[in-house]
């Protein structure tokens, strides 16, 4: 409270309890009108085909009450926290602990990731979940090249994921090609589609680019649904072969891996293999990205993100720079797609909706747009958070949407909001991303 009164510019904000009460009452009144029909009346198609309805005024009252109470709490919190732009000084020991954690978190996570199959060998659920998390980590790192580094907002990333998955599924089921032959092919095909999409949309900027990529993602999905003779339409492709360890199958047969090594066969072997496969693929993505950031092309991407006009003035070929970003991101998406297909053994267009794109994008944004560690942490948080809502499927996307809005309001720069420069004079200094002006890529 003292922080507010100390600043004359914020003195205009009233803070009395009458003000809080008035604000909460207004919120409750608005909520009452908003929810009156949507919550208060429940409609359903009746047995004769006509509509029937019943009322739920209890729920309505509870919801309005929640809004009233919530608005009081939020207002109190806001007054306690002070103005948004106020600097909050973090105590020295906390700062030291934070920087220690910052330095050791990534290696610790990596070691932990390698040990997951050892620790949780008998817990199939945890292994499956970690494979899922790693898939999203890889997708997040792939999209990070496009969104985080090059600053091109891509809302149709799932299209490349789908291209990769369907490339592998169709090549493997129709021509019997093995996973290791198809993996690069899936990547190349996805990159090809990335260039195909990237080429015409290069002139677009910002929001327009986002909408066009969204439309592209939907087109790919609709074509997959409707081109039934090739893709099986809504029924999808089933019977996709499992991956092999360079030709050695991981099954119960005589020439399987277990038989060759002389150990008892267990289906967990395949899960563990899949785990290390996706871990390796994700780390490859990470490694390539880190290396690329130090190459001229990676520097050009980041320069493009900050200011496209300046880039052009400095003689950077904007066209090829954007195209390579699109192609690289798409390629990793394609790899992840091929992995997804071989893990599931079955794919259908339902797995490649806009929601997936939004989820991956949310991971990148939550991770801080450009921070590799941030993306990994964000994927862990997001997918873990989704698992918490396993029992209430229908509330999952609702909570996801609310979280996305709150995240943007609370920390638009994501969890790890600073950017470590790849070029620096004398000493490396991380820049808070609040200071970085976003260009109009």
């Amino acid at each position: 409270m003292s922080a507010i009164s100390a600043r004359p510019s914020h003195a205009a904000q009233p803070s009395g309890s009458a003000f809080i009460l008035k604000k909460a009452l207004i919120s409750a009144a608005v909520a009452l009108v908003l929810f009156s029909l949507m919550i208060g009346v429940r409609t359903e198609a009746g047995p004769q085909g006509g509509l029937i309805y019943w009322t739920r005024f209890g729920d309505l009252a509870a919801l309005v009450g929640t809004v009233f109470g919530g608005s009081i709490i939020i207002e109190l919190l806001r007054q306690w926290w002070g103005p948004v732009d106020k600097e909050h000084i973090v105590p020295k020991p906390v700062q030291a602990a934070m920087s220690f954690a910052g330095r050791w978190l990534a290696p610790a996570l990596l070691v932990f990731a390698f040990l997951v199959p050892v620790i949780f060998y008998n817990q199939r659920y945890i292994l499956d979940l970690s494979i899922l998390v790693l898939t999203y980590v890889m997708l997040g790192w792939g999209l990070n090249v496009v969104v985080g580094l090059a600053g091109l907002l891509d809302l149709g990333y799932v299209a490349f994921y789908a291209v990769g998955a369907y490339s592998y599924a169709l090549l493997a089921t129709n021509f019997g090609l093995s996973f290791w032959v198809c993996l690069p092919l899936a990547g190349i095909l996805a990159a090809f589609w990335g260039v195909l999409l990237g080429f015409p949309v290069l002139r677009l900027r910002g929001d327009y680019l986002a909408i066009v990529t969204l439309a592209f993602g939907e087109i790919i999905r609709l074509v997959i649904i409707n081109w039934q003779s090739l893709t099986g339409g809504p029924n999808g492709v089933s019977g996709i072969p499992r991956p092999t360890l360079f030709g050695i199958p991981l099954d119960n047969s005589d020439d399987g891996l277990a038989a060759r090594l002389g150990i008892d066969f267990s289906p967990t072997h395949r899960i563990v293999f899949l785990f290390y496969l996706i871990l390796a693929m994700a780390l490859l993505t990470n490694w390539v990205t880190i290396r690329l950031r130090r190459l001229p092309i990676g520097r050009a991407w980041e320069a493009l993100r900050e200011d496209e006009v300046a880039c052009r003035a400095l003689g950077i070929n904007v066209t090829t720079t954007k195209l390579t970003a699109f192609a690289t991101g798409a390629m990793f998406g394609g790899f992840a797609g091929a992995f997804f297909a071989t893990r599931q053994g079955f794919i259908s267009p339902e797995s490649f909706t806009f929601q997936e794109s939004a989820l991956v994008l949310a991971i990148v944004v939550l991770g801080g747009m450009g921070s590799q560690l941030g993306v990994a942490l964000a994927a862990l948080t997001m997918i873990g958070g989704f698992e918490l809502f396993r029992g209430f499927d229908q509330y999952r996307m609702l909570v996801f949407g609310i979280a996305m809005v709150l995240l943007m309001i609370w920390r638009p720069r994501g969890l790890i909001g600073h950017r470590a420069p790849t070029v620096f004079l004398e000493r490396n200094q991380a820049i808070s991303s609040d200071l970085v002006k976003e260009g109009h890529g």
């Binding site: 015409p200 677009l204 909408i211 229908q394 609702l398 949407g401 809005v405």
Partner: protein
């Protein structure tokens, strides 16, 4: 020829609905410079509220159809407008000076919230409504027995669109609010220096856009006789395509683009394939943005360094 005429009528009606949604996109983009991704879902909410209020009114014993329609129209416009206002207040206003992608992402989140809110609160199944406005005219009886029909509901949709467009044009070009809106569109800082309440004007833009979307939602309900929680997504993208095609920021352009998209979609379904009608609409969006980024009636954007 008769078949063509029939498709023309159907396309114009569909296009009117798209046009009404597109106006919301174009207005918000003109003033705030962001794509209100949740606008398609506002349209869906409008349809739901119209459906629920219609159901309640009928069960209360009201029988006069014009009176019911009038009340439903008002109720859905008012409540949906409040949705628009609340969304702007909660999700967009705090981000107005944030970095470029923040409002867009917040809008995507809001779109998920609205879609799933109506799924959770009203169930996932399609809600059918019996035909409310029935009857029509046979314009021309062809020799092969194909008759060109013009139903009353089609007339209502087109008339409502024309009336709303007239009212709206008057609002923007003749009233104080319209002047404020145009001022904010050009330069928000300057407008606020000259005594325009920028916050209020932007709020009103969202309110008007949402009210028009509610009308579109109600027309959709009357015309197709059903609503479901997912209809906002595709309709939203198509209406956005319409806004871009017409030139984003231009009001007559939005209507023109809406009609164009409605006609293209109808003719594509009639003469080529129904399955790929959405693909056609999305492809148009891409093609237009590539070859004609300013649209039919838009002004070219000047880049300031």
């Amino acid at each position: 020829m008769d078949y063509f005429a029939q498709q023309l009528i159907n396309g114009l009606v569909l296009g009117s609905i798209y046009g009404l949604i597109a106006i919301g996109y174009t207005m918000v983009y003109g003033i705030v410079g962001m794509i209100n991704f949740a606008h398609g879902d506002i349209f869906m909410i409008g349809g739901f509220i119209a459906m629920i209020s219609f159901l309640v009114l009928v069960s209360l014993g009201l029988t006069a159809i014009p009176l019911i329609l009038l009340i439903v129209l008002l109720v859905s416009m008012v409540i949906t407008a409040l949705y628009g206002w609340t969304i702007e207040r909660i999700a967009y206003r705090p981000l107005r000076h944030s970095f470029r992608l923040a409002p867009m992402l917040s809008a995507i989140g809001m779109s998920f919230v609205l879609t799933n809110f109506s799924q959770v609160s009203q169930g996932a199944r399609v809600k059918p409504v019996p035909p409310i406005i029935t009857g029509g005219y046979t314009l021309h009886e062809g020799p092969e027995g194909f008759a060109v029909q013009l139903s009353n509901i089609q007339i209502v949709v087109v008339l409502a669109t024309i009336v709303l467009l007239a009212v709206f044009t008057w609002l923007v070009s003749r009233t104080r609010l319209g002047r404020d809106m145009r001022a904010c569109e050009q330069d928000q800082t300057m407008a606020s220096l000259l005594g325009v309440d920028v916050d209020r004007t932007i709020s009103m833009t969202f309110v008007i856009g949402a009210a028009l979307a509610a009308v579109a939602g109600m027309m959709y309900l009357l015309y197709y006789g059903l609503v479901d929680f997912f209809m906002g997504f595709v309709a939203g993208i198509k209406a956005f395509t319409a806004a871009v095609l017409g030139g984003i920021g231009s009001l007559p352009g939005a209507m023109l683009g809406g009609l164009a998209i409605g006609l293209i979609e109808t003719f594509w379904s009639a003469y080529f394939s129904v399955e790929y009608k959405d693909v056609a609409a999305f492809s148009i969006l891409i093609v237009v943005l590539i070859f004609m980024p300013t649209g039919l009636l838009g002004r070219p954007e000047v880049e300031k360094v």
